[in-house]
Structure formats: C-alpha cells, structure tokens
C-alpha cells in the first residue's frame, strides 16, 4: 500500500469529523503551547540569572573572611574578619595566573550632598575592581593608584546615587559626604539595573579600600578578596592553592576548620542556575502533564473512531488490506492530529511568551531547540497514544468486522 494513498485516506477521515478533529487537536495545542510558554519563561529567568553571574566578571575567585565562629558566636563581617591586606598581597604574589585582585570592605552609610541625603552601600575596592567586574565607568575616570596608596577621599558612584543626590546632573568633581567625611566624585558607573532578586545594583559608591579601612571604618581586616584568574582552567587549582596558602598564613593546623571561605565564580553560577533550572523543570513538568492529557484525548478519540469504523476496516481487509495497512492508516491519523496540534501549539506558545515579554515585561526565551523538541515530542505522543487503537484496528477479524453493526 502506498504511503501517499494512506495519507490521503487518513486526512479525509479527519476532515470528515471536523469538530471532533479540532477538539482533539485542542488538547495538543494547549499542551504544546503551555510547554513552549512555560519553558520560555523558565529559560528567560535562567538567562537573566546567567547574565547577573557574568556581571561578577570572568574567572573570578572570591575569598570570604570569617567562616568560623569565635566562641560559638558568629560575628558579622568585619568583626569576625580574618583576611588582611597582607593575605591579598600574598595571593597576588604567590598564586600562578592571578591577573587582578581587589581587597574589599563594605558598609552601609548615610551620605549627604548639598541638602539631599541617601543611605547606600559603600564598597572599598582597589583600582582593578572595575576591570575585574567588567563594570565600566561611563562618565569621568576611576580613582588612581596614587589615590589608593594615599587613602584619598575620592569616590566612583552608581547611577542611582547621581539621580538621588544630584538630580541627574553631572556629579563629576562634586563633593558628597559619607559619614560626614567629604569625598570628591571622579566617575560614574555604567547602569546595571535591577538584579534578579530585585536589588538596585546602581545604588552603590565605590571608594579606594585603603580609604574605606582607614578613614571610614577604622578596620584592619577585609570582608572579601576578589581574585581574577587568567584562564578558567586555572580556577580549580588556584582555589586549592589559595586555601593552602591562607591556612598556612593563618596557622591553621591539620584537622581544624578554615577561618575563611573560597568560592569560584563557577560554583556561584552553578548554585544560581540550579535554582532556575529547577523552576524551568517544574514549569515544564506542569505543562507536560497537559500534553499527556492531550495525548490521552487522542487515544480516546482514536479508540472511538476504530469502533465506529469497524465495518470500514472489515471492507478494507476483505479487499486485500494487510493488518499493517490498517495500522498505518490509523497511526497516520493520530500522528496528523498530534503533529498539526503541535505546530499550532508552537505558534501559540511562541506568541504567548512574546506577549508576556512585551506586555508584562517578563523575560522569556524560546529557543529553536525547544521548538524542535516540542514538535518531535508531539509527533511522538501521536505515535505512542495512537499505536494501541491502531493496533486494535489492525488485529480485527475481517469476518467479525464485516458483520459489525
């Protein structure tokens, strides 16, 4: 039996019961479009998180201080600070492949400029911080090495600071007071917008770490050391070497816990993407249930169809159709239902996610691969759920089928 003739027979049978065909397809359409839209939303969130992670900079290792409690009480950052500038220098000096390093302290502070005031995060960083974080200065310049050495009172500010304190005017060269200490603004950072968790990343002031330690906070320990490596392949060994180096410097004997924590960017990225992956999977699974329900709908209708057309099957068998011909005929019907439903569903799903992106500002991402997978999956559902009814049809006894009323 020729495939083309079988296809025509199958299509005609579907056209004969238009209402039924459309309703059966609807199950697939809803299922596939739900999967496409849901996975699109999940992927959108994931890509946004990934973009945030990339904001950390490339090949970055973060060393946090104070991972252990002193006397059972956890001090906050700073009070339990265990990292020093010497540690940072030692890392830069002794670890192979370090291309940038930025010792970091941070504090929340009230800032004043003119008659405006604002509460923000003040970061003490080295001059290399902006390269390390791939966070360019769009107006003005960074503070200099000289500023850093002399602990000068200079600052680079985020976009939100300029809006809150200077009403969007050019703040370069102007003075703002942090804890009543006057700082001169040398540059403005590129706006990064909101983070995934909704934090304003532009609500920040960056000053030399030396200034922050000596003049602002009066501390001698660091909160974090940002280390940038040359290549991603160096991350794992460098991480290990940093741990050994710091244990040695901090005189931590074997079997004792580290008084610091070393994380590389990959680990942080993995944690964040694991969350978004779980979300995508969950959304996809919920939508997948509707796809399966759609498949069951196809199976149901195909079973009804086989029963209704028992006599037709008998006639076809009497004039020479093999069981295989009948199987193919009903299988093609089922696959056509699911595949056309799938195609329409893909269109609807892509449309839905674009609508969500446009109207509700949800980041959605429908990749070509998810579309291909959805189509193949819907065709596979047609085969899977169509096989049992088709097989039932192909195994009918022609004598019984011809007698069927």
């Amino acid at each position: 039996m020729r495939a083309w003739a079988t296809l025509r027979i199958a299509l005609r049978a579907l056209l004969r019961n238009k209402m039924r065909t459309v309703l059966t397809m609807l199950g697939m359409i809803i299922g596939v479009s739900a999967v496409i839209a849901m996975v699109g939303i999940g992927n959108g969130a994931k890509s946004q998180i990934e973009a945030q992670i990339a904001n950390l900079g490339e090949n970055v290792i973060l060393v946090f201080s104070g991972s252990t409690a002193r006397g059972g009480v956890h001090g906050g950052w700073g009070s339990a600070g265990t990292l020093t500038i010497d540690d940072a220098d030692a890392i830069q000096r002794e670890i192979y492949g370090v291309v940038g390093i930025s010792p970091e302290v941070r504090s929340g502070s009230q800032i004043i400029a003119g008659n405006q005031n604002w509460n923000t995060q003040v970061l003490g960083e080295s001059t290399g911080y902006f390269d390390l974080r791939k966070w360019p200065i769009v107006e003005g310049v960074s503070y200099t090495e000289q500023d850093q050495r002399s602990a000068n009172k200079v600052a680079v500010v985020g976009r939100t600071i300029t809006e809150q304190l200077f009403a969007g005017e050019d703040p370069i060269g102007k003075v703002l007071r942090i804890r009543n200490i006057p700082f001169v603004i040398t540059g403005v950072l590129l706006s990064k917008g909101l983070s995934v968790s909704g934090q304003d990343q532009d609500d920040v002031i960056v000053i030399p770490y030396t200034t922050a330690m000596k003049r602002l906070q009066g501390v001698t320990t660091l909160r974090t050391i940002n280390v940038q490596m040359l290549k991603p392949t160096l991350l794992a060994t460098a991480q290990q070497q940093i741990i050994e180096l710091l244990r040695q410097r901090h005189r931590i004997g074997p079997g004792r816990d580290d008084d610091f924590t070393v994380r590389n960017q990959q680990e942080i990225a993995d944690m964040a993407t694991a969350q978004s992956k779980t979300m995508t999977l969950l959304l996809g699974a919920i939508a997948g249930v509707s796809l399966v329900v759609g498949g069951i709908g196809i199976m149901n209708i195909m079973l009804v169809s086989v029963t209704e057309r028992t006599r037709e099957i008998g006639i076809r068998m009497a004039v020479g159709a093999h069981g295989r011909d009948i199987l193919l005929q009903f299988l093609i019907e089922a696959v056509t239902l699911s595949a056309i439903g799938g195609i329409i569903g893909i269109g609807l799903g892509v449309g839905t996610s674009q609508l969500l992106a446009a109207k509700m500002n949800w980041p959605t991402l429908t990749s070509p691969s998810s579309i291909v997978i959805a189509f193949v999956f819907s065709a596979a559902i047609g085969i899977f759920f169509g096989f049992y009814p088709a097989q039932k049809a192909s195994r009918l006894d022609p004598i019984e089928a011809l007698r069927y009323e």
Binding site: R311, E312, A318, G320, H322, G323, L402
Partner: protein, 253 residues
C-alpha cells in the same frame, strides 16, 4: 477444463468453550471456470462458513483448498489478504461500500492494496471501465447514499471486478433488494458469467438460484445435493416480462 475451486474434504470446527461446533464436515467440491453456482441451505447448514473459507476470509481446520491452482489452506493472514485482493471479488448482502466516498473511489479501493503501483490516472481509468461494465459510469461521482440499493450493489460488483479476479463471490447479493431489482442484479451477474467470469453465490431464495447454472444444497455441514439447473431463467427475459406486465397494469383504467 481447469478447476478454479478445488475443495478436498474441507472441515471447519469452532472451539467455543466446552463444545466443538462442526460447521463444515467434509465438503469436496470442484468448480470450473465459467460456472455459475448457487450454494443454498438453511441457516446453520454451514453455507456461510463455507463461503468464508472460499473467500479466504477464514481457514479450514482440515482438508485442502486450492484456488486457481494455489493451495491456500496453509497461508497466513497477509498472504490470504493478497489472495483476496488478486483472485477474489466480493459482493455482499449489505453492499459494504464506504459511505461518504464516491462510487469511483469505492471501486478503486482494492487497487490501493495491490502490489503493482498504478498512477492515479490509471486507477481512475480502470475504475471507470469497471463502472461502465455495470452501466454506472454516469454515477461515478455519486456517494452511496445518493444511489438506490440496486445501484449500490452494482457499484459493489464493479469493485469486485476491478482486479480481474478468478472468482466472484456473492453472499446473498439480492437479500436486501426488492424482487425487480433482484432480477436486475441477477441479469448483471448472468451477463458477467456469459463473458466467462466464474461466480459462486450464496442464497436461500430458490427463484434466485434458478438464474444460476448449478445448485449446491448444504445441510449440517455437508453437501446433500449438487445438481445442474435444467430450466434456467434468463434475467433479461424475466425483466422484459415484468415490464410488459407493468405496462398492461397501467393500460387498465
């Protein structure tokens, strides 16, 4: 002359629960090319079972059946389907046409399952030829619901003829038709038989059996009588007579 059908001691036993039902108990029969045979018998006589075996829809449980020189008693499902497709044309009591499918496409149906591939043009041409034989070429586009019972049965005959079978099997072909249409259908079958087509027909109507050439009567799964028809009726003459009678009725005021 070559036997189209050669049955040797055919048995068919159904196993239903505790009982064994012996539907056919040893039928031997030879039907030669050009014969027109009516198989008759009361219900339960085994004639339907025999027809299913003759039509290769069912296999005998014992004996040998050779159709057109091929031993078909041991063939599998698919091989039987091919035999039905190439060697047998079926005409059923209930016509068994595909509804909502044109007469032409109904006639084409067996060719869809034939091994040698024909273009749709050739398909159409052959189907039209077959419809012309039963004088229904002008109704090729009609659906079965738009045709009378007699016309539907003629479409079924055209379908049976499409693959030029060795044997035409008719299962109560006039069972659903009024007497006049029945005569018409018998006329069509007689005409085909005159052209050399072998026909085996099941019927329980004695007058219909009189249009055939040979009557086989079955009882309890066995052939009890096998006679040649001596005073064979001609459907053509019968129709002429009916028309005359009708004309006379209309003349009476």
């Amino acid at each position: 002359m070559n036997a189209v059908i050669q049955l040797d001691d055919i048995h068919k036993t159904y196993h239903t629960g505790e009982f064994d039902v012996h539907a056919v108990r040893g039928v031997s029969l030879a039907i030669h090319q050009g014969e027109f045979v009516a198989v008759m018998g009361a219900s339960g006589s085994g004639k339907s079972t025999l027809m299913n075996i003759l039509g290769c829809l069912d296999r005998p449980t014992g004996g040998r059946y050779s159709l057109d020189g091929v031993d078909v008693s041991e063939l599998n499902r698919d091989e039987l389907a091919d035999i039905r497709n190439r060697k047998i044309g079926f005409v059923f009591q209930g016509f068994n046409l595909l509804s909502r499918t044109s007469a032409l496409e109904n006639v084409e149906l067996p060719m869809l399952y034939t091994h040698h591939h024909l273009s749709s043009h050739e398909l159409r041409e052959r189907a039209m030829k077959s419809l012309t034989i039963v004088s229904l070429a002008d109704r090729a586009d009609h659906h079965p619901s738009q045709l009378s019972g007699g016309q539907q049965q003629r479409v079924a005959i055209a379908r049976a003829l499409i693959n030029e079978p060795a044997l035409l099997l008719a299962d109560e072909p006039t069972g659903n038709l009024d007497s006049r249409t029945s005569v018409e259908i018998m006329g069509t079958l007689q005409k085909l038989n005159d052209e050399g087509i072998t026909i085996v027909m099941v019927t329980h109507e004695l007058d219909i059996a009189h249009y055939t050439k040979r009557n086989v009567i079955m009882r309890d799964g066995k052939v009890v009588t096998d006679t040649l028809v001596t005073n064979r009726l001609s459907a053509e003459e019968e129709l002429r007579r009916l028309q005359q009678a009708q004309a006379e009725v209309q003349l009476i005021p």
